[in-house]
């Protein structure tokens, strides 16, 4: 079992190194860091030379790789072309704002999805199943940016129920509980959009994984010893069906991150997504690089944790 865990950790580290190397190679094979610096407007010649020297762009590729690895692993990313601020600081400021949306939406989508999937599985082929599956598939087929704009149109412009811009009312400077309430109101619509767009991920896997469990022999046994259908499902089938749901939560984390980036852009939410949208518009490559590295690291980390949780929960994985 220790070997299994060590293997998982080693694989995660290898993938992390792969991502870093891919990033390094991409910036030199596709782009040209020296040309990027030459293209930055409003920069004196001395500042350009300083930037080139600071990043070691006047040294050999092997040296550059070493400097890049040391800086990145030490948490020191490059400097934004547009704002002149260190990308590390920009991302550090934006990350909590993104988590305010991602965590509740993931939790909501996983719980709601698991429940709806369970309802579907028990009525497989019926009207409720068709409606739920079709609805979830439709929501997940909508481009997330469009879903966000549609939600703003309906809930914010027409119904005037929620604010649609930013994470707080500008200029009010609220504190304490009233600030929490302010942010909650602003977060409601983006969280709702994200939940709707990722719901199908969980409801579909729960539907198929629970349908399989319902046909297992132990379910007949549970019924035979006198458990009610509801109790048999909840006590025996659901726990077994939940394992794939945990694995899926980790695997789809990267997809959720992509979704939140698009949705934040529409809501001008001051998180990673807002950062990314502005960076694309102004061709701010260091910021895009930082977002890519941080997002990849987060996904690799979350998947490692999920792998370890599954090892702890599932004796079959431990045995193999």
């Amino acid at each position: 079992m220790m070997r299994l865990i060590a293997g998982k950790i080693l694989l995660a580290l290898a993938v992390l190194l792969f991502v870093l190397t891919l990033d390094f190679v991409l910036f030199r094979a596709v782009g040209d860091p020296r040309k990027d610096i030459a293209d930055v407007p409003h920069l004196s010649a001395a500042a350009r030379t300083h930037l080139i020297h600071e990043r070691g762009l006047d040294r050999s590729l092997a040296d550059q790789y070493g400097i890049f690895l040391r800086n990145t692993l030490g948490g020191q990313l490059e400097t934004s072309y547009r704002t002149d601020r260190p990308v590390t600081d920009m991302i550090r400021a934006a990350l909590p704002e993104t988590l305010i949306l991602v965590l509740p939406a993931t939790l909501l989508a996983a719980l709601l999805g698991a429940w709806l999937g369970a309802v579907s599985a028990r009525r497989r082929g019926g009207t409720a199943d068709t409606a739920l599956t079709g609805g979830a598939l439709t929501l997940s087929s909508a481009p997330q940016a469009f879903l966000a704009m549609a939600f703003v149109l309906v809930f914010s412009i027409w119904l005037d129920a929620f604010p649609s811009q930013g994470s707080e009312e500008p200029g009010t400077g609220t504190r304490g509980m009233s600030h929490v309430w302010d942010v909650t109101q602003h977060a409601a619509l983006p969280v709702l959009t994200l939940t709707a767009s990722i719901l199908a991920t969980w409801s579909l896997i729960m539907r198929s994984s629970l349908s399989e469990e319902l046909h297992e022999g132990y379910m007949a046994t549970a019924r035979a010893v006198g458990l009610s259908p509801r109790r048999a499902v909840l006590r025996h089938a659901v726990p077994n069906a939940l394992l794939p749901v945990i694995a899926l939560t980790a695997i789809s984390f990267g997809y959720v991150l992509g979704g939140v980036i698009l949705i934040e852009s529409v809501f001008s939410w001051p998180g990673i997504g807002g950062l990314t949208y502005d960076a694309v518009q102004s061709h701010d490559l260091p910021v895009l690089q930082g977002v890519f590295l941080v997002a990849s690291t987060a996904v690799i980390g979350v998947n490692l944790i999920a792998d370890l949780v599954i090892v702890a929960l599932d004796p079959r994985v431990r045995a193999s």
Binding site: L26, S141, P143, F146, G254, Y255, T276, Q281
Partner: protein
Amino acid sequence: MAVSSETVAQLLGADRNPLSRRLAGAGHALRAIGRQPAGAFGLITIGIAVALAVFGPQLAPQNPLSPSSLDFAHRMQGPSSAHWLGTDQAGRDLFSQVLTGARASLIVGVLAGIACAVIGAIVGVCAGSLGRWTDRGLTFLDDSFLLIPFIPFAVLLAALLQDDAERFPGGRTGIIVLVLALTGWPGTMRMVRARVLSLHERRFVERARSQGASRTWILRRHILPNVLPIMWVNSVLLVALAMLGDAGLSFFGLGAPDSFSWGTLLHNGFEAGAVNQGAWWYVVPPGIAITVLVLAFVAVGRTVGGAPVSKAPPR
């Protein structure tokens, strides 16, 4: 569609000519998909989208690229008899733009989806056939690409390539296809690899090997025919994913502005402030168009995945 291709097959002499046999197979598969309600919805929608992609620019009342379409006196106006879907910030007809954009949206999705499936199949067959170390290396590559989050990576890659857009085949649209193809293959690779590994254990492959069949012969005669159906079934779902990916990248403004692809229209509408002005006619039609078409490909993909229609018809 289904009937005609089968008629063609019969006229050509279905059992002699391999091409016509394949056409008959396609007709058989299409009819089997069409029998399911979801599959029928998918096929009809895709058919309409293909027709729009072919004839859209001719049907459009206006050429959105011609200067005569500019009409600043009537900008951001709602639907009317003159402009069925209203006008944009330069007074151009939005209905024309949605019709014109069908071609770019469909082509990007289909090209990228098929490219993902083909790359996945090639890498998967290599991993399953070329020995343990190749397998380990390619599986690691696959694991890594599965973990890389799509939007952050694709946005970075597309932004990096953007500088060379003029020299790139297909310009910005070509860049998006390339980015989608480079990121979308790992799922197919997994499935194909597992299939190839299990095929190599099967009796008929072992028998061929023991009789001295070469690797290439086994690959052509036994492996590929059993792998291609998975690849095609997968490509249908990958087209759906590619269309969504294209919509995301285009929303960031990374698509070709003159293509008027539906994702680019979402970007234009957002940048023009259509949402806050309540100009729903700018973003809702292209958004619904993408949603319905993606759903159509998902419906066909799920129908094919559920029913054994990928099997060849009785000969």
